[in-house]
Every structure is written in structure tokens, then in C-alpha cells.
Amino acid sequence: MRLTPVNTAVLLLGPIAFFVLFFAAPFALLIGESFARPDGGITLSNYVAVLTDGYYWKALLNTLLISFWVTVVCFVLGYPLAYFIVFHVPSAGVRRGIYVLLVTPLFTSNIVRAFGWIVILGRRGMVNSSLIAIGLIEAPLDLLYSKTAIVIGLAYILLPVMTLSVCSVLQTVDRSLIEAARDLGARPSRAFLAVTFPLSLPGVVAGSIIVFALSVSAYVIPSILSGGREMVTPILIFQQYTATFRPDIGAALSVVLLVVTLLLIGAYLFFLERRLRVAV
């Protein structure tokens, strides 16, 4: 449809007004709050408090460490699945079934998915009762409420994101290149390492960054599966508003989290551009 500048302005009026009022303004207020002094002046003291306190740093490093392992697990599990979906599943029906399995967890609340892991890993859960039933252990193991449990829970939530990201790139890989490598005598493994994998790398990087960014800002899974034993930045933010009532510190921590995420998104967009160039 040919749109005049006036049409464009009319169409964009509603969405821009809504996003200015209820997206930009709330974020601006939050950023302002992080610099606000109780008497109305401007101060950096909230940031000094946050950035000089070892406790906050430890939480941030813990968050980054957990996110790193989540990304690794998502890659290790998600890449073979994406490869399988794109190259090995011959029937459209089976592929459809796999996509349903990928999307259904995405449409279920984090809280329900965390609860699923409590049922699996809990003291009377599936893993413990199975191990006891076959006689491998006598007393239940403490599988829940640890860093490992958080990594499993988050990797579970973000695995579909990684898989779909890799799928979208593998679908665009020119199959005649793989055919050519095979015709020139390369074994499938060599064709994969020399052709398919390098071409899919932008999707891997983009998927990894998005998975990393989403785990850095995850609140529900760490909160449920940490059992209070692990601290991450989003839990700290939550506590500033519900337990310690320091919205100024909470605002500064939120801005720190926002900056970390924006840096990651910047990197993501950078690789997306490269991916487009590769695709061309």
C-alpha cells in the first residue's frame, strides 16, 4: 500500500504515544530514581553503594557464571536437535510434532516449568525415587536448591530459543555447497566441519547471546530453584522492593542489569548484521 507521510503519522500516533507514556516514561523515571537524592538533588551514591559492595558484585558474577553455563548447555543440546530437524527429519508430520514439543514449553509459565523440575529433582521426586528403587542410593540426594538446579531449569526454558535460532540459519544454508563437498570426496563429518558448521555460526552466536541475555535477567527460575542458597542480580532487585524497601538501590541495580543486557543486545545486533551479509 502506498502510504503518504500523513498516513504514516496517523498510523504511528497511537503506538508511539502509548510507548512514550507507558514504556519510555517509566524507564526514564526509573533511571531518574537511581540518581535521586532524598532531598531532591542528584547523586551517584546509589551506584557507588552498588558498585563498591562485594555482595552485589558476587551476585552479578554468580549471575554471569550461571548464564554462561546455561548458554553452553543450550548449545550442546540445541545444536544437534536443530541439525536433526533441518537435515534428518524426512517427514513434515514428524517435524511438525517436534515444533509442537519445542513451542509448548515456551507457552507455559516459568513457574509451572520450575515446578516440573521440583517434581523431578525433589527429595521424593522422580530421580530420587528411581535411584532408590533400583538400589543405587539409600537416602535421597539433594538435587534441588543449587547452582546446578538453576542451570538445568534455565537451560530448559531457553533451549527452544537456541534451537529455533540455529534452525532458522541452518534452513538458509545452501545445500548445494554441502553436496559439492560430498561430491569432492569429503566424508559427512568433514563436510559438516568445513561447510555446514561455519555457515551456521552466526545463528549459534546470535542464539547464544540472546540465551545469555535472557538468563542474566531471569528471576522466577533462580528464585524458585535456589531455595535461598544462591543469589543473582534479579533476586537482589526484587528484594529491594519487597524486603529491604530501598527503591533507590533497586533502581540502580535495575539500571546495571539494563546496561549489561543492552551491551549483549548490541553484540547480538552486530552479529545479526554479519549473518545477513553471510546470507547475501
Binding site: L12, F23, L29, T104, S129, V220, I237, A251
Partner: protein, 277 residues
């Protein structure tokens, strides 16, 4: 001369298939165990579940606080989705049909709620609504959820608009249709499946949200995920499993609906990854 597959190659193929099957089991397992355990006859969580009973489901539907949370969540998701359509479709139309300076930056802003920390959006709405006097109300939840789900409508609508032949719209306009007529008579019927899929993505993502809702609801006025979040802190029992299972059934219904509208494969790849158009 092509080398035929040897034993190692066959093993490689087999192990990819094997790993993929295990990963698919991993994906299904937590949802399957929640559904299984919601039918247990024991009063506490025990795996494997024992017997079969609808008792926990009856307990949920006869508990007014759960029913009310379901009603709040449904109203909120419906209102947020309707608004997201009203805001997102015009924006998508502009981004798909007109290129102007700053268009890319603007669309990035509209799509950014997909990747910005949702908990920070929740906090920001809480402070903003407190300052303006509507904190922890339906309207605070509503504006937060609209911001959260509008990107889904924009993204699927852009994908559908780019997939349709612009010559159809131009023909209608050349034949004297106004832009409004062209949109409702030509464009909308063409992109309807994509819009339905976008609306379903928007609805379900409002329906399952915890982070925005938790800061903007009260102990009495809660959505179902927040109700579950508060409940799980103190009780881990089959009632929780029954409510969770109900939300899983809803997720499956929405997946089926999206599959019927546009095909789940296309919708999943378009909406969850950053394929630009």
C-alpha cells in the same frame, strides 16, 4: 566421486538422532510429570503418582481465589491482546510498506520489550504507577502487559505483510478504493492467519507472565502465575500440580490454534528468532 557412508558416518547419524530424541524427552518431561502428578491420590507430591483422581481439579475449581485469578488473567490477557492489535497492526503496516529515516530505530524500540529484562519493566511500571496514583491495579498490569506483548503482533504482522503481493493493494487503490477500504478488503484478509498467530502469541505471553505482574498486583488481586508463585513458597502439593496442569492444557490449545492458523513451524521460527524483514 562420492565416498559412500562408512560405519563411522552411520554412527554419527545415529548419535545425532539419539541425542535429539533425548533432548525431546528433556523438553517434554517436566510438563508430563506435572500432568501425571496432578492425578495422584496421595495428599503430598510423590513420584510415581498413585491411583487416579480428579479431586485436586475439583479443589481448584471450587476455590474462589483460584477461579478469580483465572478470571483476572483471562481479562488481562484479552485486554492486552486487543490493545496490542490496535497498536501493533498500524505500526507493522508502516514498517512493512514505508521506509523513512529512523524507521529501523523505531521498530527496534517497539520490539525491545522482547529482550529487555522483564523484571526491570515490572519495577519501572510499579514506580511510574505509584507516582501517578494507579499502582497495583488492573490498569498498571494492563499497560505493562500491552508493552510486553505488542512486539509479538508487530513481528508476525510484518512477516505476513512482507509475504503478500503488494500489487494486490496497488490494484485496489488504482481502481479507486480508499486506503481504509484497501486495508480492510484486501490487506487484512490476506494477512489474517499471521495476525491471528500474533494475537495468540500475545495472549499466551501475557497469560504466563510473572515478572511484570508480580510487582503490580496485590495479595487479593493476582493473576494465575503470580498466585502460583505465592502458593509455591509455602505449599508444594497436588493442588499446585492441578492448577499447573490446567495452564499446560491451555498452552497446548494455543499451540494447536497457531498450528491451524499458520503452521507451527513458520510461526515458531518467525516469532521467536530475529529474522528481519
Amino acid at each position: 566421486m562420492r565416498v559412500s557412508l562408512n560405519l563411522a558416518d552411520r554412527l554419527g547419524r545415529l548419535s545425532i538422532a539419539g541425542i535429539s530424541c533425548l533432548v525431546l524427552v528433556f523438553l517434554a518431561l517436566p510438563l508430563v510429570v506435572v500432568v501425571a502428578i496432578s492425578f495422584t491420590q496421595t495428599a503430598y507430591l510423590k513420584f510415581p503418582p498413585q491411583g487416579f483422581t480428579w479431586h485436586w481439579y475439583w479443589k481448584v475449581v471450587s476455590d474462589p481465589t483460584f477461579v478469580e485469578a483465572f478470571v483476572v488473567s483471562s481479562q488481562l490477557a484479552a485486554a492486552a491482546t486487543a490493545t496490542a492489535l490496535l497498536l501493533g497492526m498500524p505500526a507493522a503496516l508502516v514498517f512493512a510498506r514505508r521506509n523513512f529515516r529512523g524507521a529501523r530505530a523505531l521498530s527496534a524500540v517497539f520490539l525491545s520489550p522482547l529482550v529487555l529484562p522483564t523484571i526491570v519493566l515490572g519495577v519501572a511500571i510499579l514506580q511510574y504507577a505509584s507516582a501517578l496514583g494507579f499502582a497495583r491495579s488492573f490498569w498498571a498490569l494492563y499497560v505493562g502487559h500491552v508493552v510486553l506483548v505488542t512486539p509479538y503482533v508487530i513481528r508476525t504482522s510484518i512477516a505476513s505483510l512482507s509475504g503478500m503481493d503488494p500489487a494486490l493493494e496497488e490494484a485496489a487503490q488504482d481502481l479507486g478504493a480508499t486506503r481504509v477500504q484497501t486495508f480492510f478488503l484486501i490487506t487484512l484478509p490476506q494477512i489474517k492467519p499471521g495476525v491471528i498467530a500474533g494475537a495468540l502469541f500475545a495472549f499466551i505471553n501475557s497469560w504466563i507472565n510473572v515478572e511484570v505482574s508480580i510487582f503490580n498486583s496485590t495479595a487479593q488481586f493476582v493473576t494465575i502465575p503470580v498466585k502460583l508463585f505465592n502458593y509455591i513458597q509455602f505449599n508444594i502439593d497436588p493442588t499446585l500440580a492441578a492448577v499447573s496442569a490446567l495452564t499446560i492444557y491451555i498452552a497446548i490449545l494455543v499451540v494447536v490454534a497457531i498450528d491451524l492458523a499458520v503452521g507451527i513451524e513458520k510461526a515458531a521460527v518467525n516469532t521467536t528468532t530475529n529474522a528481519r524483514s
